[in-house]
Symmetry: none
DNA sequence: TTACTAAGTTGGTCTAGACATTTATACTCG
DNA sequence: CGAGTATAAATGTCTAGACCAACTTAGTAA
């Protein structure tokens, strides 16, 4: 028994939909259930209330609720069975795909405490690789964010991010020194990041980079160029992260495919 | 102009929905559009008819049509833009599983010709990380192979490989300068390589490394430590490859996981 | 011409139902 | 007790609208 389940063992949602919010109702419902299931404290197989019951409780129509449940099912969080009901999905641990993580998540998974120092936040015009990647009209503006990323208060990396402004208007409202950009995009703008490509190379730091990283004079840096896409295949982020070579190692899992 | 587009250049659907079929209407519509776009003959950016028009033409309600379009959009085949319309999507990189490839395969996929210069081939005792990784009794011997790897006759990387001798007895029979180790293991010893983990870091080359790589004096190197496993989870190979930072970039595809 | 404005178009979200299909359950009949 | 059957419950599909928000375009005024 869990505080998130009722007497019958059904999962229980304590949320109220804000119909005046610009965030659609289905997104609010999806986020609520996602957060409920995220900790993994609710055992797989636990039933959700029937759609019609949940609809009435949340005050939305069934199509709206289903829009939320559809994406949760695509994400593998819940399972629906016609005639039986909807249930918390079993945790399938086939991690066959390389997982994309933010710096924050990456550092936390190594048992360290991530933080940031904001260096630059501004609006810029597109140039160079931005145009190729985002494929936006030249009038579209981007946010440029530069941060020093720290782990346990030691500078580990410099990060420069470009994000189209239309995807996250008023991004300056958020505390970029304290929060993961990924989580801001996902939780506050409803963007669902889906996949990314990273190009990893080695280089020597420039003098300002070395100073910001407090890097030893004989150190190399690991440069990661990341291109991030949303679940709608929209280019979301173009980022360059420069890690101290002596403090950071990128880890990659690969699987053997069929060979030509 | 294309036979699948009308006079205005809109894509044109010649399908009729069979409402008596057990296949849902949205699935029929999705399949039809999918098949239309599959050949890739319709240029990206070609508009689809507006939803309301398509609805009437197909005799379905808008929600049904959108159910079809939603999944097409998730698959990256079409793009919808509020206020503008729906268009054939540009062909973007498909998100795929990170593939494990040998140096030979990697270089070939970049359109270059790989080759090798054998530096060292010998039997050695296990030591240090070998013991952890292979988990073999200390009496077991390993092969150690060191090679300079070249692409179009330019030195790109130094590679040092450790492989347990029991997995590939008489490995010296093969021409390690000309062949991919992976292909030798797979084709001649029946080993099925399944997956690997790589740790990628940046460093400065030692003097002998710099000489062998003919690296510029101010260059960094990309160091890749690879642990390879067979399909039976047997540790097969422990390798360190040192790439010239100015000539090589590692590429990684990642996907956003739904579970922590 | 240029800049602003208004109208129209388009996709995004949502409703309140309807019927279909699958599954689980309770009941009846042998 | 067991087998088949009716019934209820649950999700799956679909409709015919509605309003909203974003974009395009045509028209107007400076």
């Amino acid at each position: 028994m869990n505080s998130s389940t009722d007497v019958q063992g059904n999962i229980f949602l304590r949320i109220r939909i804000d119909k005046t919010s610009p965030i659609p109702a289905y997104a609010q419902i999806g986020e609520a259930i996602r957060n409920l299931l995220k900790p993994g404290t609710i055992p797989p197989g636990t039933p959700l209330p029937p759609e019609r019951v949940l609809c009435e409780r949340l005050g939305v129509s069934r199509m709206t609720l289903r829009q939320a449940c559809d994406s949760l099912e695509r994400e593998g969080l819940i399972e629906s069975h016609r005639g039986r009901g909807t249930f918390v999905a079993p945790r399938r641990m086939q991690k066959k795909q390389q997982e994309m993580r933010s710096f924050t998540e990456e550092i936390r998974s190594r048992g360290l405490t991530p933080s940031s120092r904001l260096l630059v936040f501004r609006s810029i015009k597109q140039s160079g690789s931005d145009l190729d990647f985002f494929g936006l009209p030249e009038t579209e503006m981007l946010y440029e964010v530069e941060r020093v990323r720290l782990a346990d208060d030691t500078p580990i990396a410099l990060e420069r991010i470009h994000i189209p402004q239309y995807l996250c208007p008023n991004l300056d409202r958020f505390n970029l020194a304290a929060n993961s950009i990924y989580s801001i995009l996902e939780e506050n703008y409803g963007l669902r990041l889906a996949h990314c490509t990273e190009q990893i190379s080695a280089a020597l730091p420039t003098k300002p980079q070395r100073q910001l990283l407090q890097s030893p004079s004989n150190g190399a840096v690991l440069v990661v160029n990341r291109r991030t896409y949303s679940d709608k295949q929209t280019p979301v982020e173009l980022a360059t992260t420069t890690f101290r070579g002596d403090l950071y190692t990128a880890v990659v899992h690969s699987v053997r495919g069929s060979q030509p």
